[in-house]
Symmetry: C2
Subunit: 299 residues, 2 copies
Amino acid sequence: MNEDDFLSALRGLPLHPGAMNLSDDAARLSEFVLTKDLLVEGVHYLPGDSAGDVAWKLMAVNLSDLAAKGAAPVGVLLGYPLGEDAWDRAFLKGLRAACEAFACPLLGGDTVRGVGLRTLSLTAIGRAGPKVPLRSGAQAGHTLWVAGTIGDAGLGLALAMSGMGPSVLLDAYRRPMPLIEAGCALGPVVTAMCDVSDGLLIDTARMAAASQCGAVIDLSCIPRSPAARELAGSSREARLEAATAGDDYALLFALPHGTSPPVEARRVGWFEAGFGLRLIDGGESVPLPASLGWEHGRD
Amino acid sequence: MNEDDFLSALRGLPLHPGAMNLSDDAARLSEFVLTKDLLVEGVHYLPGDSAGDVAWKLMAVNLSDLAAKGAAPVGVLLGYPLGEDAWDRAFLKGLRAACEAFACPLLGGDTVRGVGLRTLSLTAIGRAGPKVPLRSGAQAGHTLWVAGTIGDAGLGLALAMSGMGPSVLLDAYRRPMPLIEAGCALGPVVTAMCDVSDGLLIDTARMAAASQCGAVIDLSCIPRSPAARELAGSSREARLEAATAGDDYALLFALPHGTSPPVEARRVGWFEAGFGLRLIDGGESVPLPASLGWEHGRD
């Protein structure tokens, strides 16, 4: 089963109303937003990656899911498989750095004996803002925006294999920054929001599908960092590469036509009647690439 | 690092007040109790165990932690590594059965591509009762009680290797029943409570240590099922075996002297001034066994 099949099957189980039919990356419960993201060694990070960076990333990916729901972090529960001493100690150091950087304390968790490749898990709890934006709230005519940059982490991952390259790109892969403040500011005004964890194209397609409409992305508008443009250039191929790379933890959101976002962001497209995703590059129509991004259980 | 070392190190990180210094198996947040327990293939269950039983057990061990805090289940978040289709489908079936049996719906979670041995994780959220009993509330003079039976799952695990034996023992290992109703009834009246997940002796020693006092267990009072007594006999060795076996998910609790519990339970000992655990068997003093139970990262 791939992730979509499994999710469909889970939807047949007894669901809490706060699960919102499992169509978002987070659940609601009273004044809280809850999310749970795993990192698997060899899948979400390289076996040689530093334990401190892995700990940071585990926090960051979860807090990014909270940010996408406009929620500020309250605390986390850690699921940790014990391994080698040095790795465990470096992990703790990275976790402390992330707890402090994101003002997010530890609430609890479980420690077990690890076997083989690590599966790390974190549950993050945030305090919901006045409105919890869903993935499904976009409508035809709404504009599509990105806060943060796209494609840096994908380039950083490629560089991490050699360990050499601009630190802004390596850091985007190793120590991503969840856009917590931006998410909290955006929460009350957006009509839909999610983070860009699996790739701009696939996450946009998912937002459009959840919202039962179509979406158009203009490749000429994708926000890329100066370092990414310098390293990979600005060809359409490079921009498509960025738009299908994962791990960026930018925020993707919809606004009613004519509304401006309260944070720095780039308008990258719009929603339209119908379904599916269309790409343009300035005025020109561009065919969709074979893969829109990262899909678990399908590679 | 073993589990205790890692926990000590975690206590040096920024902690949420609801973490209660990580000295319990659950955290408090507003009107909720949160817990997170992992199951590792080859550590917490046998690689050949049925996926449906593993799903059940994952729910049961987490809801047992809630029961020990007097909390009724609200919902769970699942962390699941995708593997073989047949296993995934059987897991879903067992999860559904547990959701229905324990009236506990799914709130959310994460699905990833699995690699090698499975690490399954669940976060369970419960609604706290009027009082959340801690592990640390016992005092010298309080009596020590067990609701449920001790040693059945340990025998069931041994039988599961061959697949033959009394179903009540096999079921105790394969489909443990968290004592949710008993936990909710006990919550307001006990002075300390935890579940017996790693063994009666080790869990009692932990309760005594957290409560900064000593504890005495009378081996002649340990509640064992008729099936366990029939299979393993009632020798001191058999009773010590039961008292150090894990996976029982009975409830262990303390009451002020002279107080009776509101549910069926057996008085197995008492707390005293000092520290550490002492064993007696009727009137006779018994030396502590080399291992008091299951310790993660130490075997």
